[in-house]
Symmetry: C2
Subunit: 299 residues, 2 copies
């Protein structure tokens, strides 16, 4: 298998989804005078968060999704932030609400996320959506965007998940856990590893599908990878690199060159999972729009 | 290790918890004139469900928990059943509501379970409680009784869970999944197997802790068990046995005699996990009582 055939082109898959979604929005225009609306709430001045919000806004505009943006000062009180969430909860033009994480330390993340109406919780992090996600046979209103995108990447790469052994490295509420639930619902046998796992290498060596989502640069090594395994690298880490103009380069949680050898499919960083997060957010916003306006699936 | 030292005495552990709970209820009497109340709703005439409800009732009375019982006819409408749930939701003397499962086919289980106020959902099956259970760092109001009991059995047997490899066979919403979440929160590395798993034996062979919860008599075999493994058998199956007066005997999901050899600890069936389900339900009812009446932890 050639190098090119092994690498999952995340940008290409995202732009395919973008085209599908664009077409759907055109059809929606013929049945409803309203437009899907997404509210993104950004607190403080974190450069990475600002960049993510910018990308989300840009994509929304491209697709004809109205973006409601709130840039709030770092020192906003929890009470004031809750008020912003409530306003968006009550605004019928807003179909999805996203609070860019992380929040400043004086604000309780859980309180804020729980305040978002489950009907508009496009990130899918509210307990009721997570509960319906983790259980078998339930329908969460929204599925967290990055995990949903990972499944989409696997499926659109022609990989059958059912019966496969999937090893998830990382157990965060926003990535590792929800991906585990989705893979389990797709009938994978799942193993969840984390910082307390005695021998992560041994677990990964047994995997048909590896999900790396722990947030440690190039943690997963090439000799851990079983021949033919599919690797989805959710990590994005800046490591110092003097040869680069900006002084660093971005790497995933996987040693890409090392893991490429045995893998049958692998996502690069950047250009793998990243673009999924944004396009899946748009897709979820449109799903929310349809549900909130009683518009049945059209396409 | 002797046979006796290997077998986890579920009855003994349950009666220890019963004594602790009894003492706590005595203390509660000194601070509140109210009594904890548990409502058990039984629909239809299933013999096994009737037996479970009888046992729950008996234990409640022993402990001084007021039992509100509703035996409803098999042909009750979903609407009428919902009304019963609503009445108990609104009754301040009821601190916990349990709907005995399974329900007749014409009633949608999910609708009924979702109607129980999360504040009184002693079974912990409502999406909001499951969502807070599956996520890290959240506090569900109630944890499902059988899974909670399994963890209690492991801990009271002196087994340290952190860093261990736990293999859960079965992924039901009421047992397999919630046990996986609890073990993960205790820092076990978890693998969830099910009907679509290619080689369950291979997965189990790697386990330090085996949870058998698939509902198939003596499914887990002795030669799958790693030396020193801890086995928790959640299954309870009736298999035909002409030597018994009643024509059957009860076995778990584990071949007990076969698995005993390599195990360091193993629960028998009956007398292992079973008694936990009931006593944990009582414990959860008392927790609900304290929370609903603003009584802080006393013991």
């Amino acid at each position: 298998m050639s190098r090119k055939d092994k690498i999952i082109d995340g940008k290409k898959i995202a732009s395919e989804i973008q085209e599908e979604l664009y077409s759907e929005i055109q059809v929606l225009k013929t049945v409803s005078p309203k437009k899907p609306g997404l509210a993104v709430i950004l607190v403080g001045n974190r450069k990475d968060s600002q960049a993510y919000v910018r990308m989300k806004k840009k994509m929304a505009r491209k697709l004809g999704i109205v973006d409601f943006e709130k840039n709030l000062p770092e020192n906003i009180s929890q009470e004031e932030l809750l008020q912003v969430v409530t306003e968006y909860n009550n605004n019928p033009e807003v179909n999805g609400i996203l609070v860019q994480l992380p929040l400043p330390k004086h604000i309780d993340e859980e309180t804020i996320l729980n305040a978002i109406s489950p009907e508009k919780d496009v990130d899918g992090f509210s307990p009721i959506n997570m509960g319906n996600l983790c259980m078998k046979g339930r329908d969460p209103l929204f599925v967290p965007c990055t995990p949903k995108g990972c499944i989409e990447l696997i499926k659109r790469s022609g990989v059958n998940i059912s019966g496969k052994k999937a090893v998830i490295v990382g157990r965060s509420n926003i990535v590792g856990l929800p991906i585990s639930f989705l893979l389990l619902h797709e009938n994978a046998t799942i193993t969840v590893c984390h910082s307390r796992t005695k021998d992560i290498a041994k677990e990964v060596k047994d995997a048909d599908i590896v999900i790396a989502a722990l947030g440690a640069p190039e943690f997963v090594k090439g000799d851990w990878i079983k021949k033919g395994a599919v690797i989805i690298d959710v990590g994005i880490n800046a490591v110092p690199d003097k040869t680069k103009k900006r002084g660093y380069r971005l790497v995933g949680d996987v040693d890409f060159e090392g893991c490429l050898k045995n893998a049958s499919k692998i996502t690069p960083v950047p250009g793998g999972v990243g673009p999924q997060t944004i396009i899946q957010l748009m897709k979820s916003t449109v799903e929310g729009f349809k549900r909130q306006n009683g518009i049945k699936k059209l396409l």
